[in-house]
Symmetry: C2
Subunit: 263 residues, 2 copies
């Protein structure tokens, strides 16, 4: 299916549901909010909800379902979380066991789904403001790093804050703080600027996740809390069963990025 | 006169007018907006007004008088600009010729007065938000530097952007951008972060104006456009006569810093 026909969240979800679209969602349905998905059995849901509440910058919750509910609610009222993402990952005891395009066969009546904001939303705002985003220019994944900053633990969930990094010229750093501060529900303002060793990052050319990008002499590395943080905490906890989106294969909602802006 | 009796802009102005206060105004009448003052003959006023309009970050105009008017208007309706600052500087052909506490003897009917926002306003907001400000802690003048960034010229006025520098931990840099962005009428957001050589500053330990302050290993230097910029442009132009406030001896207005906030 050509990308040009996937202009709304609904277009993308229906193409996923019919099996016509099974790839990454970056660049599709521009302006519509894309989100991370975490699905856990109810027994772990309270711990995870508390982890998100205590660590709102890496885990900005957009929606949480009732147990067994397959629709995420008002952000995509006609969505079915079992089929409307391009690809999922199924983890048992912390091990990746399958990467299906539909999770109907795994579904349990006690599943609670967490829809978590994603940096795609603020990156679109940066680009519209004329602030270049290196990994997008280079068509790479954003580089991500484990830091020496511990998340506030909750029940079985704990672990380091994971950050994404975007290099920018100093004047653009100022603009980027202003712009992303408007988006607290999608990671918000940066958590660090310029001194990676202060947050436990030794070598920017070797990210823990994603792809490295060059940093020019007239640029500073700028770090945002990253949605990989909760996934990392879940993998560390090795729950019996958890289902997530496959990297880059997000839930595309009916919400608009600009609706997430605080001011 | 004890400082504790100078709690409002009016208190300070009256103590200046009566000759009871002739010192710096930093820390007086907290929360009331303090401002830079530039007084020029009308023949130069259009050029200078245009210079401010073209360079709003270093020259944020709070008020401009009609020729000969001694009151700055609504920001201090009962003020007399000839007597209500602690100390003035009188410059002829670019040379400092006097530093009086009253300028009645110099007053001309064609004088136009420019009241320009000052960083005291946003520094108070930083302190209230728990962001430490090094030069205030050390009771020094803020360090200021000429940059390699040229102001947009206007008539006889031209010259480099002068910046003030405050060292901060990265997380405080983010907060400082957020906080000072709310104050566009008092220099607003920083113009540079972290790479002084990129804006032509070779040695932070040797400021062009003010006092050096230490920068710790876990801090970045943050640079704001500075009200010394217009003064520097005026001195370069060497007008026959100009009167300014003496450094640190500001006009204290009836306006509140929080009223200057954009949001």
């Amino acid at each position: 299916m050509p990308e040009s026909r996937l202009n709304t969240g609904r277009d993308v979800r229906q193409a996923c549901r019919s099996g016509e679209w099974t790839e990454q969602t970056a660049g599709l349905a521009r302006g519509f909010t894309q989100a991370n998905l975490v699905i856990l059995p109810q027994a772990l849901a309270m711990d995870f909800l508390l982890f998100c509440q205590r660590n709102p910058k890496p885990c900005p919750l957009l929606a949480v379902t009732e147990p067994g509910q397959v629709c995420p609610g008002v952000i995509a009222p006609d969505a079915d979380l079992r089929s409307d993402l391009p690809k999922y990952r199924v983890w048992r005891d912390g091990e990746l066991v399958a990467e299906p395009t539909d999770i109907a066969q795994y579904w349990q009546d006690d599943f609670v789904s967490f829809v978590i904001g994603c940096s795609f939303s603020f990156e679109d705002a940066l680009l519209r403001a004329g602030v270049p985003v290196r990994h997008i220019e280079l068509q790479r994944n954003v580089p991500m790093y484990r830091t020496n900053l511990e998340c506030v633990p909750a029940g079985v969930f704990h672990g380091p804050l994971v950050v994404s990094m975007r290099p920018m010229k100093p004047a653009d750093v100022v603009r980027a703080v202003q712009i992303t501060s408007r988006f607290p529900r999608v990671h918000g303002a940066p958590i660090h600027i310029g001194l990676p060793e202060q947050i436990g990052i030794g070598d920017l050319s070797r990210p823990d996740f994603g792809d490295a990008v060059p940093i020019h002499e007239d640029e500073l590395p700028v770090f945002w809390a990253c949605g990989v943080t909760p996934q990392s905490a879940i993998m560390t906890a090795k729950p019996p069963l958890v289902i997530t989106h496959s990297p880059g294969c997000m839930l595309v909602t009916d919400g608009r990025d600009e609706e997430l802006a605080a001011g």
